[in-house]
């Protein structure tokens, strides 16, 4: 079976960095955002690793990684990601942040995917994170799917199992810590991934060197895109007031702590 897997993956600030909102010319932004180290969005990374697993089981298949972000940041992130698995990069140069409008982002991604040379849309599995670690809306991938006229979409995916007849089973997260199982007759389909079940692939310098031969030219010819706002207006963006007056209880016996906790749990 031959699959054409397109993975939409954004970049986000390293989660361990301190984030502070500031007001820019076009609305909120992050303070010193260009200085913050970036990583591939965690759920999109899960999608990418699942794509690599599918390709390893279906050798005639191929992965395109479509990423929208500032070119310099994309280059920094690709230095790491390119060592993990083989892919062809489609880069879109845009000064995007988590406050950008998902509709405009989706339009730019869909346009880039629609013009990928050699992509057979009848074999297409469109992958991405079900949400991002920046906007966290779960909107972009669905709209990209709609723009590409794909009407089988799955969100919060933790597993895909391809069958010999071309159909596949998908497990999607639903309420109560359960999965909904569905069977789709075949490609094309959209899968927004949650964590999946696969570990992060180990770095392989040989894969990295092979990838970088195509990644660097892709970055150089990355099309600059200015995202519109579709009438979106931010009235405020602020950090929450996190500080609680924590009562620190020291030197209390476990029995006394347990008694206090049980009373607290029983209180309304």
């Amino acid at each position: 079976m031959s699959l054409h897997i397109v993975v939409c993956a954004g970049i986000v600030p390293d989660p361990l960095q301190t984030l502070e909102p500031v007001t820019g010319l076009k609305g909120p932004a992050l303070k010193n955002e260009m200085m913050l180290p970036a990583v591939l969005d965690p759920w999109s990374a899960s999608a990418l690793y699942e794509a690599a697993d599918l390709v390893s089981k279906n050798p005639a298949s191929k992965i395109w990684l479509v990423s929208l972000g500032p070119k310099a940041k994309l280059q920094q992130v690709m230095m790491t990601i390119a060592q993990k698995l083989s892919f062809e990069l489609v880069a879109i140069d845009s000064p995007t942040t988590g406050f950008a409008d998902a509709h405009a982002t989706a339009a730019a991604l869909a346009e880039a995917i629609a013009t990928i040379p050699g992509l057979d849309r009848s074999k297409l599995l469109l992958f991405g994170g079900w949400e991002s670690a920046s906007r966290g809306a779960g909107v972009t991938l669905q709209i990209v799917g709609e723009r590409l006229c794909i009407s089988d979409q799955f969100m919060g995916v933790d597993q895909i199992e391809m069958r010999e007849d071309g159909s596949f089973e998908v497990l999607e997260r639903v309420e109560g810590g359960k999965h909904q199982a569905s069977v789709c007759t075949g490609t094309p389909a959209v899968l927004g991934w949650a964590t999946g079940n696969l570990p992060e692939p180990r770095n392989n310098p040989q894969i990295g060197m092979a990838n970088m031969r195509t990644v660097m030219p892709a970055l150089q010819k990355a099309k600059p895109v200015e995202l519109g706002e579709s009438g979106l207006l931010y009235l405020s963006a602020s950090l929450p007031s996190q500080q609680r007056q924590t009562r620190v209880v020291k030197d209390m016996a476990p029995e006394a702590i347990a008694q206090e906790l049980v009373e607290w749990m029983g209180a309304e």
Partner: protein
């Protein structure tokens, strides 16, 4: 432009009863309609919308339904068509819906088909001169208030942010909306619980019990007591009915070949790359970390922690009370006090 409000709702797995999140969305939509003096409509997706509509008896709203066996299954192609048809029939400018797995799967696609916009994970809706909504960015680290000029505007409301509507159930007339379904290529075959012995995620529980990596680290005797930790935690969950959350580091340990709690999966993970559940109370044990991880209990109202480090970033300034103690000893005593169920 005068606004008109539609609330999209759907039934639970019984096929006849509206979900709690749907009834919460109705509360929010009704408050919004009242503050704008705008007309209100309700859209129901169900195998038989007439049954589910009984929840809205006596409500001053237009009730629309999409019925049929195709809508017993939560799947993109049929749900998107149903929601699109309901939105077009209601001709609403603002559409409120619950942030359930079912409607979150289709909301953006529906907004695109309608030529509108969508915002998700909404925490509150206010109508002043404009409709303003608040939501979080960067995984619950930055809160923003925003508005949009585009209509229709779909708003997916996080569960637990509004009280669920309770009405007098009775027969009620509804307008059945016909839906032209495209070719259906996806069949839902059922639901599955993760590979574990019992359910530990309970969204409606009064308490979230968060376990950290400290449970599987070496204890004062120099040994790891993962089995004992697992017994203590499960006994506590049995006795209290609490929902179980976990730090990322503890969930990830399974993949690293370290001692694990066998009942934990990534579904239990809270924090930066996990969930941020809403419960009235939360008890964190053996958790350590800073802001990105602590967002896991951002929406817990009353927080207590047991930690050996009084200055731990998980507890200091984030919890209401931190007990500086050995969680093994404390939880053993808690289970004793909770009695035979523990």
């Amino acid at each position: 432009m005068p606004e008109s409000i539609l609330v999209l709702t759907h039934v639970d797995e019984t096929g006849a009863i509206l979900t709690k999140a749907s009834l919460e969305a109705f509360t929010a939509a009704r408050e919004l309609a009242a503050s704008l003096s705008a007309p209100l409509a309700v859209g129901i997706v169900a195998p038989d919308a007439t049954l589910a509509a009984r929840a809205f008896a006596g409500v001053n709203a237009r009730i629309l339904g999409v019925s049929g066996e195709a809508f017993a299954q939560a799947r993109y192609v049929s749900d998107a068509a149903a929601c699109e048809a309901l939105c077009k029939a209601a001709n609403a400018t603002v559409i409120v819906a619950p942030q359930s797995s079912r409607l979150a799967r289709v909301a953006a696609g529906v907004a695109h088909r309608l030529g509108g916009s969508v915002d998700t994970h909404i925490n509150s809706i206010h109508a002043k001169t404009n409709i303003e909504v608040s939501r979080w960015f960067y995984r619950q680290r930055i809160e923003a208030v925003l508005t949009r000029a585009a209509r229709p505007w779909l708003l997916l409301l996080d569960s637990g942010t509004y009280p669920a509507f309770v009405g007098a159930e009775d027969e009620i007339a509804i307008e059945q909306i016909k839906v032209e379904l495209p070719v259906i290529r996806t069949t839902v075959t059922g639901t599955r619980a993760p590979a574990q012995n019992e359910q530990t995620i309970r969204p409606d529980a009064k308490m979230l019990f968060v376990t950290g990596a400290g449970w599987t680290k070496k204890q004062p005797d120099g040994q790891v007591h993962a089995a004992e930790a697992g017994d203590l935690i499960l006994a506590f969950l049995h006795a209290t009915g609490a929902s179980l959350g976990s730090s990322k580091s503890l969930v990830d340990q399974g993949g690293d070949g370290q001692p694990v709690l066998p009942f934990l999966t990534h579904m239990n993970q809270v924090g930066q790359t996990g969930s941020t559940p809403r419960h009235p109370k939360g008890l964190a044990t053996c958790c350590h970390g800073e802001e990105p991880h602590v967002v896991g209990w951002r929406f817990i109202a009353d927080r207590r922690a047991i930690s050996l480090d009084p200055n731990c970033g998980w507890a200091r300034g984030k919890a209401d009370v931190v007990y500086v103690a050995d969680a093994f000893k404390v939880m053993a005593k808690v289970n004793e006090l909770l009695g035979p169920k523990a």
